[in-house]
């Protein structure tokens, strides 16, 4: 007998609802050509179709047709980095991001969770990431430093692969954090006496602002020296990317609304961020609302202003770099910046303007570093396998510095440098930090 795939479980009406959530209709855009395979980091390191974009889309389809259970989806979906490299090479424009998020939501809803786990998740996603106060506290000392506390959170959440030695690894590469006093001293509004070249609102980002406070300060400085006026709306909140990546779509929508409303109050030309992941989330805010609705329109206006810092600095073109840096630099682009925001040239253009810097492209710069939100914490081993592939390419160009454009990538690259024993040779920095090192002055 020929073996046709079979249907099982689920009643018809349940299946319909499930199909809607899983974006079943969108899976038909995939013609299974396989062009995504060479672009997928997990297909390369995990060596099976199950962990490829085409494989995942097919599994979503199978589950939506009742040929498998949501449980069958869990592992393949959770092991996806969400780097979206597949969407850039896809010849038929499959909306993989939406398929992935739908699958995550369904998995999250069907997971049996203990009451403590629920409570902790609620705290983490509804109070912790969205709260500036919490994030500041975290920045002050707690986050990875108070590892016992975090570890407990992680274990209760089922992030069991998180062993103490992994946290040590991250802790070793964390930058020095500023004192609470410095944090408090930050001005919220930088006005200019002379007419400003642009009015900019700065989206600080939770992780960026807590762990890479200095880089945020540098970002503001670069904007000011470029002749812009800068505001930092106090009520801004988390972009919601981590929520969406964890299947918590509705919290992600709430956060989007809040940010849209807060930034509407400031009449600015740009909403600038320096975290590729946050930027990618924010330029897709309109996808969260129904076309034609009032929120959709408001989101579109918001989205039209969202820019990466590199884009704005190139557009303003107000800086001259006075200090020559005698360095070989390689650039590790943020996947979300490349594949979602489609911003690829501006960072390279800026690095190219620094005197003395030799920019050397590594092999396959678009291959994800394995950071991917909380992926490197939740799936530590898998992430390290991907990082090791990346570091081989990095070391191939023998650079003095790696430049990144997203906090997650920055932390991961620092870890990569440490893992390959190159701490004395290679320095990983955010693009804005490199630019500040070159003493930028107004033109």
């Amino acid at each position: 007998m020929r073996k046709k795939a079979r249907n099982w479980c689920f009643g018809m009406s349940n299946l319909k609802a499930l199909q809607e959530k899983l974006n079943y209709d969108k899976t038909f855009d995939c013609v299974q050509c396989g062009y995504c395979l060479p672009a997928c980091p997990t297909y390369e390191t995990m060596e099976r179709e199950t962990h490829s974009p085409r494989g995942r889309i097919n599994l979503v389809k199978m589950v939506a047709e009742g040929k498998g259970t949501v449980q069958d989806l869990e592992n393949p979906i959770e092991k996806c980095l969400g780097c979206m490299a597949c969407t850039t090479v896809c010849p038929t424009n499959v909306q993989y991001g939406q398929i992935l998020e739908g699958a995550k939501q369904v998995i999250d809803e069907q997971k049996v969770k203990s009451p403590t786990q629920k409570k902790l998740e609620q705290f983490l996603f509804q109070s912790f990431f969205p709260s500036q106060k919490w994030m500041n506290t975290l920045g002050h000392a707690t986050w990875l430093y108070q590892k016992s506390g975090f570890q407990k959170v992680a274990q209760t959440l089922g992030w069991t692969k998180l062993a103490p030695n992994h946290l040590d690894a991250f802790e070793r590469v964390l930058p020095d954090l500023p004192s609470p006093k410095r944090r408090k001293k930050r001005v919220k509004r930088y006005m200019r006496k002379r007419p400003a070249s642009a009015k900019v609102a700065f989206f600080t980002g939770c992780i960026m602002d807590s762990m890479f406070f200095e880089s945020n300060e540098n970002t503001i400085e670069l904007l000011l020296r470029s002749g812009a006026e800068v505001v930092i709306p106090e009520q801004q909140t988390c972009c919601g990317a981590l929520h969406a990546h964890s299947g918590k779509i509705s919290s992600s929508v709430d956060l989007a609304k809040k940010n849209i409303a807060v930034f509407e109050e400031e009449n600015v030309d740009y909403i600038v961020n320096n975290a590729g992941g946050c930027g990618a989330r924010m330029i897709e805010y309109h996808h969260l609302f129904e076309k034609g609705s009032a929120w959709y329109e408001r989101a579109l206006t918001f989205v039209s202003k969202v820019k990466d810092i590199s884009e704005v600095l190139v557009e303003l073109d107000g800086l001259e770099f006075k200090c020559s840096l005698d360095k070989t630099i390689t650039y590790q682009p943020s996947c979300h910046m490349t594949n979602v925001q489609k911003v690829t040239e501006p960072p390279l253009e800026l690095i190219g303007k620094i005197p003395g810097v030799q920019l050397k492209a590594m092999d396959r710069p678009d291959f994800c570093c394995g950071s991917a939100g909380v992926y490197n914490i939740v799936n530590y081993e898998d992430s390290m396998e991907i990082l090791d592939v990346k570091m081989e390419d990095v070391c191939g160009v023998n650079p003095d510095g790696i430049v990144t454009s997203n906090p997650g990538c920055l932390l991961q690259m620092k870890l990569g440098v440490e893992r390959s024993g190159k701490s004395n040779q290679i320095d990983a920095v955010h693009l804005v930090d490199l630019l500040i090192q070159a003493d930028p002055q107004p033109k």
Partner: protein
Amino acid sequence: MESWIERLKEILPEKRVMTDLADRYSYSFDASFGEYLPDVVVQPQQKSEIVSILKLANLHKIPVYPRGQGTCLSGGPLPVYGGIVLDMSQWPKTIDLRPEDLIVSVSPSVLTADINKAAEEHGLMYAPDPSSAHVATIGGNLAENSGGPRGLKYGVTKDHVIGLEVITPEGEIIRTGGQTIKNVTGYDLTKLIVGSEGTLGVITEATLKLMPKPPAVQTMMVSFDKVRSAGEAISKTLTSGILPSKMEFMDQACIQAVENFKPIGLPVEAAAIVIIELDGHPETLKIERKLVEDIMKKIGATDIIIPKTEKDADEIWHARKQVSPAIAQIKPTKVSEDATVPRSKIPDLIERLQVIKEKYDVEIVVFGHAGDGNLHPNVLCDKRDHEEMARVEQAVGEIFEAAIELGGTLSGEHGIGTMKAPFMEQELGEIGLDMMKRVKEAWDPNGIMNPGKIFAEKSQKLVLRNE
């Protein structure tokens, strides 16, 4: 669990034997139609493992389905009777280039484009260039005898293979051909295996011919207001002493689809365009370009574009590459055929396609490697619409008939697989097909190698619908 699956776990490392539903479903499809669940997926990395797997399969009469990266457009790797999927994509990749002999030995998992890349470092090239070359494995290309645009001048995969190492369906290792360009010793088993679509054994190594890489290329894009003139242009060029490396055809529907998708500036008014690539020495190219230009003018080309820079040329080829995504916007499901006719019959085939399109009320766009008579009529449809798919099945059947009637063939480069199996007898005749079956039976007495392919079951029809 079946005892033979337990045995597989002794033959291979545990992580290379997959029995989870999610894993099995991930190998239930390729880039064509149909979905069949295997019982187990294995990823061998040594010859001894394949030998043991095949011997086990013969013992228990379990079907074995070799697979590369699953980019096949005709169903070659589909496990239609369940059993074992032999995923060869994780086999160790080796490229052993011998520039002084102009040959290269490769392992089956190497990506085809990587072979060409390695050859180019020595001023050589591996000519076959299927559009999936950056994804597909050479093993899959060998099994399916893949082609590509350059097939016009350089032929298809089989024209570049001089030797193979094959594990027979009964689990014996043999070598066919050798390492020399000339070799007439005995039956040409190499050419028998290439294009046998995994029904006669598993390829574990191939020795391929390389050619000197042409020092320069010249692209041209020519528009016509009649499809027939485009066809004529192709024949006239080829009979004038010039052999371009590529001659690609796009009909008006394709041109308009590309322009609607991402405007590139293609002539939407044109009935058809032909994109030509000449290759050779720069001085020769200057002369040939002029000759081709004159031919095109004489035939009545409405426009001839000769790109000044490499970037402009790339843009033209980019437009050609955009056809696939662009036509996917019209309708989500694409039935991509590769019916091939003698070159002079291209205008006739295009006319027949027009008739078929109207008769069955289906969307058909045509593009392809017209220079070698290999067109890609693509039927655009929606596989959720069963009524439409029934009409598409009939239309596709008639496309095959038209190709055969015009003296052509079912498949120029995609292979027979499951989809075209029901039409084999029409082209080969009863006895012709029977001779092929006898070859198959001699090689694979237990019928375990890729059963369900090439040869149709009694009353098997083309089915594009999943129940």
